[in-house]
């Protein structure tokens, strides 16, 4: 194969594992793209060619997916990627103000990556947690009711690297982890 893609053994083995789960190889396209993007941060043309080759497809069959789906990207986001929900229920609870606060606090306009690559901000469509808006996702964790002064505080904790230790902001995912029954 001509095109080279630096992927870890772990990712390669996950790719090997996922393809045979489907009756037709092409069905694994999205899952393989996810695995590649999870490791490399984006899916560029070389990656499209590599994936296509792996699945017996043409590169365009992969590229047309990468360019269609909002969560697939051809250039990587920042080291910390922050998503704010834009859609009506979150907007009704102040998500536009939250997004503006974040633009200021993180020094990056929505839809962009900060020059030093540290942060990127995305004003996204519905994240399906509308009852606790504005909803914010940092990398893979979901935070609820991030509005007004809470948004300022949230951004500050995140930039200080103290968000994970904060008791005030527990992610939806972390709140599911329960203490063992005594």
């Amino acid at each position: 194969m001509d095109n080279q893609l630096e992927l870890s053994e772990l990712t390669l083995s996950k790719i090997d594992e996922v393809i045979p789960k489907y009756p037709e190889k092409r069905s694994a396209a999205l899952m393989v793209i996810h695995l590649v993007q999870d490791e490399l941060g984006s899916v560029n043309d070389t990656a499209c060619e590599w994936i296509a080759d792996r699945l017996g497809l043409q590169p365009i069959n992969i590229k047309e997916l990468v360019t269609f789906y909002p969560m697939l990207v051809q250039k990587p986001w920042g080291r910390k990627h922050i998503r704010v929900c834009r859609t009506l229920p979150c907007a009704l609870r102040g998500s536009y103000a939250t997004c503006k606060t974040f633009e200021k606090k993180f020094g990056v306009k929505e839809g962009h990556v900060r020059e030093d690559g540290e942060y990127s901000l995305e004003f996204m469509e519905c994240l399906a947690d509308c009852g606790q808006g504005p909803v914010v996702i940092v990398d893979e964790k979901t935070y609820e009711n991030i509005e007004g002064e809470r948004a300022e505080k949230f951004a500050q904790l995140l930039t200080d690297g103290k968000l994970d230790d904060s008791e005030e902001f527990t992610s939806y995912e972390d709140s599911l982890i329960k203490l063992p029954e005594s």
Binding site: K21, Y22, P23, E24, R26, S27, A28, A29, L30, M31, I33, H34, L55, L57, N61, E64, L65, F68, Y69, P70, M71, L72, R86, T87, L88, P89, A91, L92, R93, G94, Y96, A97, M124, E125, C126, L127, A128, D129, C130, G131, Q132, G133, I137, E140, K141, T142, Y172, E173, L176, K178, E181
Partner: protein, 450 residues
């Protein structure tokens, strides 16, 4: 206070119990997978018959009876049959499936294995939206647990019945919630929906094979239908509106959240003013979208009258609309995915419209010209109106664009994009016309929606 019924949690019975976890031991301790055993001891047709008798209607949006959907399955083709769980949960205002996936995944797996047994599927998929990163991990973990206990995979419970279950992640596209778009996506293609006929999934679905696509909540209900029996289940709720529903309330109420009630047991007014603690202090109700952002908006001071399917006449205010499938439908809207979005008097309706239009313009797959172009123009017009460029004729222009989308597209996205505009513009026409002479927002409002 009216006589408010209690929440009746069937699907969410255990989800928020602090002593409950999403692990299999906990689920089994609460009687989990007993109904899979019961179902497998029955003939597959009998299981389907119970689901038909239960009267359960699909919880994803269209409200089509699930048992009937299963009946349409082409069993004679000789091709493999597939079951797909639609866990894309993408209708704005809806956040119920998330609670099941994260907190009680085994309930879904049990429901799916029962459904797979009934329809004869040997391979099933859960199509989950990519934003649920941890949700996909939880499901995969749960599937491994279920397999090691013999509840999923090969020779389930020591019988000849085998069915594998694969979690497939989407990548942030709303259109993948449409069942034929979902199927295209699962085939590794762009999710452009297919035209019906001929591509009814029950006949020509995944890989052109017979396929059943059901919503998460619907499939969970299957487990309870088997537990109670179809007849008994059909006594919950009201005729033609059986079972419970998980209503998701968002927007400007004191206690937004998800609430499970028997269908038709309370009104929209009780939901907003009692269950959800009413509006924020000093506010008054302006509008409600009753079934996810695609549903037509209801105006707070509107009257709804007519005759129900059973012949009874009704004359309702917004607060009187019964929360079931038929109530919001009789009021000219729909209960859709159960997402109730509440707007108070601080909302600028033109901005709210612009917000909704931006969503549909972003999410149109672009396959059909009326939808691709129309949704874009509706976004541009409303955005211009909110940036000081409103004209009196914009209301009619918007309506004409929306009317040229409705009924002219391959899938129901066209309607989903047109209905908000048609209803907002017609019901709040004064607000749209007034925008031309004054760009002022409602009094004291600092809320920005676009």
């Amino acid at each position: 206070m009216s006589n408010l019924p209690k929440e009746r949690r069937i699907i969410l019975k255990n989800a928020d119990d602090p002593s409950y976890s999403n692990q299999i031991d906990c689920y089994v301790r609460m009687g989990g997978y007993e109904n899979l055993k019961k179902a497998i001891s029955m003939q597959p047709e009998e299981v389907g018959e119970e689901v038909l008798k239960s009267g359960i209607r699909g919880r994803g949006g269209a409200g089509f009876p699930a048992g009937m959907k299963w009946k349409f399955l082409d069993r004679k083709s000789g091709k493999p049959i597939y079951l797909i769980c639609n866990a894309d949960e993408s209708e704005p205002g809806t956040f119920k499936d998330r609670q099941i996936i994260y907190k009680d995944p085994h309930q879904l797996i049990e429901g799916m294995m029962i459904a797979a047994y009934a329809i004869g599927a040997k391979l099933s998929f859960i199509y989950i939206r990519a934003e649920f990163h941890e949700g996909a991990r939880i499901l995969n973990r749960a599937i491994e647990e279920a397999k090691s206990h013999g509840f999923c995979g090969n020779n389930i419970l020591g019988t000849d019945f085998s069915c594998d279950l694969v979690v497939h992640r989407g990548a942030g596209a709303y259109i993948c919630g449409e069942e034929t778009g979902l199927i295209e996506s699962l085939e590794g293609k762009r999710p452009n929906p297919r035209i019906k006929p001929p591509y009814f999934p029950a006949v020509l679905g995944l890989y052109q094979c017979p396929t059943i696509v059901n919503n998460v909540e619907t499939l969970c209900n299957v487990r309870h239908i088997i537990e109670m029996g179809g007849d008994e289940f059909s006594k919950i709720g009201k005729p033609n509106n059986t079972g419970t529903r998980i209503w998701c309330v968002s927007g400007q109420v004191v206690k937004p959240g998800y609430y499970e009630f028997e269908c038709g047991s309370l009104t929209l007014g009780q939901m907003i003013f009692e269950v959800c603690g009413g509006l924020l202090p000093g506010r008054s109700l302006k509008a409600v979208i009753p079934g996810g952002s695609s549903a037509k908006v209801l105006r707070a001071d509107e009257r709804f009258s007519g005759t129900l399917k059973d012949g009874t006449e009704f004359d309702w205010g917004l607060e009187d609309i019964p929360l079931d499938f038929d109530g919001p439908m009789a009021a000219g809207s729909m209960s859709g995915s159960g997402g109730i979005i509440v707007m108070d008097d601080t909302v600028d309706m033109v901005e709210a419209m612009a917000n909704v239009n931006a969503f549909y313009a972003h999410e149109s797959c672009g396959q059909c010209t009326p939808c691709r172009e129309g949704s874009l123009w509706m976004r541009k017009i409303t955005q211009r109106m909110c940036s000081g460029g409103a004209r009196e004729e914009d209301a009619d222009l918007l309506l004409s664009v929306a009317n040229q989308i409705e009924g002219r597209t391959i899938c129901a996205f066209g309607e989903a994009a047109a209905w908000p505009t048609q209803s907002f513009v017609t019901k709040f026409k004064d607000d749209f016309i007034q925008k031309a002479s004054s760009s002022e927002k409602p009094e004291n409002s600092t809320l920005q929606l676009i």
